[in-house]
Symmetry: C2
Subunit: 357 residues, 2 copies
């Protein structure tokens, strides 16, 4: 018996999710490069590679270092890394031992990267870049037409160019996934054509998010980077991207207080995360009580409202809570407990937890 709250992975569900996404990428004819920010564990990274992943996507140099230390040798930092200070030297060392691709969305960023790895000098490690395109999420990334300028600057600086990428983050919304996948293909296709028009080869055309993956355009994309799909979460559930029975990660929580129609659990924002998207029904969901709603969340309390007439769980009962956004939940704990058929079979260290820089 463990003290709640803690995060549990159902290994059978996980395995099924890994196989399904591998089959989907295979059917589309695209390479699968899962985003490891979701799980930050060596064990799951290896499972993804066993399920046909060509390498990993990460968000930070720190995450890349953790996976490189574990022997994973093909990493895409899908982020406009600003390679200054200690980070420049860390990136140089990383690129000297594994294959690294880095996101860029500016000529200035390209120049900092080239300087960091001393691109063009004898013995300098090779570093590839991919140009980030804004396909409608309006975060980082450039318009497709500008992609060739940045790619040209990279080549001129002695970096190699893998191609273009985007994150269609506007896929997170009601009925938004399929249109976002269309935007993704349009923006990536235009950026690829811009590079080719400038006589720059563009072997990699990389897109992906878990919601948009099902509608990804295999005629344009060469690579898919979904993150959340191994675990699922309440966001995917409520968006309709993943079904309730595909949710592989939950927080085990105990009822510590109750009153009419309400149970209060010991899982709060310090284990679930505080994410609440505009479309979310609450601060997470109960896997075995889909009719219940988490109406309030403090650091160590989830207030769960049950519908009229429902049995309210007793104090001391344990429940399974689905975090709204699993990436932030995982980053709050030191280990994930792994269960098979309800029996604990192991624990995975969240090796890249907190590696924000």
């Amino acid at each position: 018996m463990r003290d709640t709250p803690y995060l549990v992975v159902d290994d059978h569900v996980l395995e099924s999710n890994l196989a399904a996404m591998a089959a989907h990428a295979r059917a589309l004819g695209v390479a699968l490069r899962p985003h490891a920010k979701t799980h930050k564990t060596i064990e799951l990274a290896r499972r993804q590679l066993a399920h046909e992943a060509v390498g990993l996507t990460v968000a930070t140099v720190g995450e890349a270092e953790v996976f490189a230390d574990a022997g994973i040798d093909d990493l895409f930092i899908a982020y406009p890394v600003w390679a200054e200070g200690p980070r420049a030297e860390r990136l140089r060392r990383l690129a000297s031992r594994v294959r690294v691709r880095v996101g860029v969305d500016s000529v200035e960023g390209v120049r900092m990267l080239a300087q960091a790895v001393q691109a063009g000098h004898d013995g300098a490690p090779s570093l590839a870049v991919a140009v980030e395109v804004d396909s409608g999420h309006h975060r980082s990334g450039v318009a497709a037409a500008e992609a060739a300028t940045i790619a040209r600057a990279a080549l001129d600086s002695g970096l190699s160019v893998d191609g273009v990428f985007t994150f269609p983050g506007h896929s997170y919304g009601a009925d938004a996934a399929d249109p976002a996948a269309g935007d993704e293909a349009a923006a990536l296709g235009a950026a690829r054509d811009a590079l080719r028009g400038a006589s720059i080869p563009c072997p990699v055309v990389s897109g992906g998010s878990t919601p948009s993956a099902r509608a990804a355009d295999g005629a344009v994309l060469t690579e898919l980077r979904p993150g959340v799909y191994p675990f699922g979460d309440a966001q995917q559930w409520e968006l309709g991207t993943m079904t309730q029975d595909a949710i592989a990660l939950t927080a085990r929580a105990t009822v510590v207080s109750r009153r009419d129609g309400v149970a209060v659990l010991d899982a709060g924002s310090k284990v679930l995360g505080a994410d609440r998207a505009p479309y979310a029904s609450g601060f997470g969901r109960l896997l075995d009580h889909p009719e219940a709603r988490i109406t309030a969340l403090s650091e160590h309390h989830a207030t769960v409202a049950f519908p009229p007439g429902a049995r309210i769980p007793a104090r001391g009962e344990t429940l399974r809570v689905v975090p709204n956004h699993v990436c932030n939940a995982v980053n709050l704990v030191d280990e994930l407990i792994v269960e098979r058929n309800g029996v604990e079979v192991g624990a995975w260290a969240v090796a890249a937890r907190g590696r924000n820089s």
Copy 2:
């Protein structure tokens, strides 16, 4: 030079906040028992004790263990701990070496606690409880009239009773702090009277939150438990509880992307937390650009909108970001960097990070 993002404490501002709350409690004539969930560091706990704190408040047995290991010997776990499984034995060990008070809001919870510490048996460690009263936040806690029943059950089980407490969490809202402080005093006063009416002494009448502290009723309360006040955060700033110049903790972040009117920073929800209360203007604030708004937050990106005509910071510039909810931000990092007059003077380990159980 450090790689961003990281959390920085301004030691002068911190010291001023500690002194101000100590003076406020002294003026009210109440004991100060700060909530250490906010900072989770040994160093700051000691500073609070040096600033007249009588002991600490914590949220979990795990947090209590960390502070007890550091020699802090008077701890209030202000939470309805369900003392079953390993937690029961952990609580017994804890109570055998430091003074521990635990929150209760049910007769069942009282019985579990008594069983855990084997209350009433020879050589059993002494454990005190305080009955939690709901003063309007509607989370855990009972109505004032029920407090005596629970206190009586505690005495009958061999536990000692310190008194009553509440968390007026409904102080978090526009113009809500002063009314919440009034509710707090009313509920605590009624609960205290209920205990006295049942011939149960009630030496401790404990309330507090950072927003309601200024209006706390010293004629009713004997103890105040604010948490956020050492650091402040964007919630306190926007609620008007703390001024901009009282904010002692910020995330140092770098501009990694920009476009018309917008800068994108490398501080996202994995270092700031994803909290966004209904009254918040965005996902945090920029300390040196109060006119800017964080309009979107991903795990590693903050999208900052500046007003028309404002200078947009250049790529590579570092900015100071105020998290919305500092307690959740601190829990995301392993250390807090301490600066004095802009010069780094130390680092404090977030010793109780992730101690959720």
